[in-house]
């Protein structure tokens, strides 16, 4: 039992950085930012945020308001009306539901597959390990967009066109996820812990569920966040594999932008509805996402 009771040596914090790393980075940053630094950064923040503000303004106005000179810069009273209009014209309600199903399944599946494979690559010995890992990493940089034509032919052969699994199953392939979890476990899972459990007679499966998963959990959470956002925002493949009768949010937005809807305020209402869920995730867990991206950068 000792093996399980001892906390791992390097328990990473929730935002992914180890305490030691944080101390070092703080010591390295000896300079205080001057007023100019703040000014530039605040301008950058405003530019980052303005399109969101503008979406809210435009979505709560009418088409006629948006054609006024000088332009109106404050929100108006039409938000609900525009929401209703976009629900009718682009099936945004169904699109949101589909996007939740698709992104949720992709997230759960990717995190699971990546943790399993990442653990094997990090801590198990088997023939062909290095070659398979090299293959995985080597294809990480190749954009999946290049494979869409055969993928489409495959999906057509399976008669999956316009069905959600056509987007979910290819979405589960994440070489990045495997690499990310491998790096995470190499760092945070001590070999002695596994050896001790083996001496105690634990099977690999038991080691995986009672030792690896609890230690990997913070990494899994970060990977899950990044995967969810990427899946929600994925554009090319969904517009190829689905149609407007079974849309995800991005498919519906493409339809909105395709020239059939002329009311700009309705288009902006759709944009707002389609972006709100990720913004919500971002608002609640932005710090973890920032940590995940910076952490991935150092390792990658």
């Amino acid at each position: 039992m000792t093996a399980l009771a001892d906390p791992p040596v390097k328990q990473p914090t929730a935002d992914g950085s180890t305490p030691a790393k944080r101390r070092r980075s703080r010591a390295g940053r000896t300079n205080h930012g001057g007023p100019l630094a703040y000014a530039v950064l605040i301008v950058a923040v405003l530019i980052s945020a303005f399109p969101f503000y503008w979406t809210i303004v435009a979505a709560s106005r009418s088409n006629a308001d948006l054609a006024k000179v000088p332009p109106t810069l404050l929100p108006g009273p039409n938000l609900m009306r525009n929401f209703e209009a976009v629900m009718e014209e682009a099936e945004i309600g169904k699109a949101l539901l589909n996007s939740f199903i698709v992104s949720g399944s992709i997230t759960v599946g990717t995190v699971l597959c990546s943790t399993l494979a990442g653990f094997a690559f990090a801590k198990l010995k088997f023939k062909g390990r290095n070659a398979l890992l090299a293959l995985t990493i080597g294809t990480m940089m190749i954009p999946p967009q290049l494979g869409v034509i055969p993928l489409f032919m495959l999906i057509a052969e399976l008669q999956w066109v316009n069905q959600l699994q056509a987007v979910i199953l290819p979405g589960l392939v994440s070489a990045f996820g495997v690499f990310f979890m491998r790096q995470y476990l190499v760092q945070s899972l001590p070999d002695e812990l596994i050896e001790a459990a083996r001496v105690d007679g634990a099977s690999t499966a038991r080691i995986f569920w009672s030792i690896v998963v609890p230690i990997a959990r913070p990494g899994m959470a970060v990977l899950g966040l990044l995967t969810f956002m990427a899946a929600w925002n994925d554009f090319f493949w969904p517009i190829v594999a689905l149609t407007s009768s079974e849309p995800t949010v991005q498919v519906a937005l493409r339809q909105l932008g395709g020239g059939y809807v002329h009311d700009q305020s309705v288009i902006m209402a759709g944009t707002l509805l389609g972006t709100l869920p990720v913004l919500l995730v971002f608002g609640l867990l932005g710090r973890q996402i920032v940590g995940g991206i910076m952490q991935g950068a150092v390792k990658g």
């Binding site: 390295g28 950064l41 294809t139 290819p170 105690d200 690999t204 150092v298």
Partner: protein, 315 residues
Amino acid sequence: MTLTASAKPISPSRPPAVRRAWQKFSPYAYIAPFFTLFAAFGLFPLIYTAFVSLYRVELQTPGDMEWRGLDNYTALLSDDFFWTSLRNTFTIGVISTVPQLVMALGLAHLLNYKLRGRTFLRTAMLLPYATSVAAATLVFAQLFGRDFGLINYVLGLVGIDPVDWQTGTVASQIAVSTIVIWRWTGYNALIYLAGMQSIPGELYEAAEMDGASKWRQFFHVTLPGLRPTIVFTVIVSTIGATQLFGEPLLFEGSVSGGISHQYQTLGLYMYEQGWGFFHLGRAAAIAWVMFLLILVLVGVNTLIARRRIRKEAGR
């Protein structure tokens, strides 16, 4: 020792030979889910693209394949719009990547100072990254409107005549690039920031003792320390630029990328051939050309980076 008692089936009951065999093969069970999906939906389509590009395949009947040899490629090379889109991909790539990475470097440098509310600042910078291409492009298409767009209005305030952001070649490419820059600058700034924080503080202390100014420290400590990170972001941005698709598609909503294809990229050209004109074989040839292009560009990047490192080592 409690583990043995509570670990239910496998260990003690099985004969040692079976157990040993299982120990040897069980790792494959852990990588199997990923590699099964990877083979079917990742690797196979990538390789098969080259094969499909040698056939005539139409969207309505993807099962019928007719051997065409290199016809798809020769047709491509004699299509003016292919060359237009190749050129556009390159110019938009430069207009969007260069300012983006330079600004990201500057912002990262500022974010690396001791700041109040640094978590807020970092999160806010990453906000555009959280939006989808589709959402960002629809909003910017509105802002870039010729008659009622906010951007032309603001330009008018400083005395600049309204710009036709849709029809002009340079103007439309700048507009499309702006969307890319807006979405990715903050992300790259955070990547650079992470790289800057892994540069040991002692290097700065030593430079300070030698009397190096902040400016010199940036060029002689920060930039060399960031080289691997910079190479990484340049490669990732190059690949992204080669693939550019959603922004030009939704900027006006047409697959041709503007009336005279003035901002059609290779990615969009591929989509137009495949899903606009139903020529899947031709689209596969374009995908393969894009793949080769990426290989060449990444190769050139790595070569330049390597040569610079060697040059510096020799100095």
